[in-house]
Point group: C2
Chain length 169, copies 2
């Protein structure tokens, strides 16, 4: 299974693509789609839609995980996150892919087993999980990978609960 994780922003949209096989996870791609902040918002959203669509065509994920802050710092940032989320969700729906959303606390909890962990702790866990020489850059890419890994853990745990662990002799 290939998971696309998205950290939604209208200036920089982080993405992380991982291939999952049970509890094994492999990094396929990570980065950030950047828009010129000077461009009109509608043009930025159009660019993000086009670039995100290319990513989905290229990596053919089967599931998309998106960060959804239950509360935002302020209404202006909530508007911006909502806009970026909508573009990501639309691309997923246009490709018939299911969308899963996680709060920042759920992502931290899943990746580091502690909902209040720091950004650095999350990045270090991503580095270790994916066997990377250093944490992925930029920060939005690391955040997107954390969301993808959160979905992988959640899916893996759900399946364990449903089927029970494989017994080894």
């Amino acid at each position: 299974m290939i998971i696309l994780g998205i950290d939604p922003g209208t200036i920089s949209m982080g993405y992380g693509v991982v291939r999952v096989d049970g509890d094994k996870v492999e990094l396929l791609a990570a980065g950030a789609l950047n828009c010129q902040a000077k461009l009109p918002l509608a043009r930025r959203l159009f660019q993000l839609h086009t670039e995100l669509d290319k990513l989905v065509v290229r990596y053919a994920p089967s599931e998309v995980a998106i960060e959804d802050p239950f509360v935002a710092a302020n209404p202006r940032s909530a508007l911006a996150v909502g806009r970026a989320q909508a573009i990501a969700m639309l691309v997923a729906a246009q490709h018939g892919l299911p969308v899963f959303t996680y709060t920042p606390a759920q992502v931290k909890q899943a990746v580091t087993s502690y909902g209040g962990s720091s950004k650095e702790q999350v990045q270090e866990m991503i580095r270790l999980t994916l066997g990377l020489p250093q944490p992925p850059q930029p920060n939005d890419a690391a955040d997107a990978l954390a969301i993808a890994l959160c979905h992988q853990r959640q899916t893996y745990l759900n399946r364990l609960v449903e089927t029970g662990p494989e017994r080894k002799p």
Copy 2:
């Protein structure tokens, strides 16, 4: 010139289409795109995108006006408004149409000459301006028409300022 006005919402997206000739305005269409609230959000956004795209193809507006609350009631509603705005802006950008945004106070000011007027006063002015037997229904359609009319007034005034009023002998 044909203007498409949008009142952004992810359950109900109001739209109003008017044909403008100087200070004359004619109603072409108004209504609301409704989604089943039970559908997953990504599916709703996909539906809204598809329906809005059909509207743009059908009425071929040259400009799109969208409501943009500078502050929202709360972060959750700001997220929802942001998502709906993004879909409307994306459709406009995909058709190469310029997007204009107006705050609710700007819309009221433009339509009724008073930024604090009530919903009923706005609706009555829309009815009078468009020569309708009764205010357009549902409310989201009336709100969208108010946004389209706000943009028409703004465009008309801007042109007056640029070129001066036509003198009549």
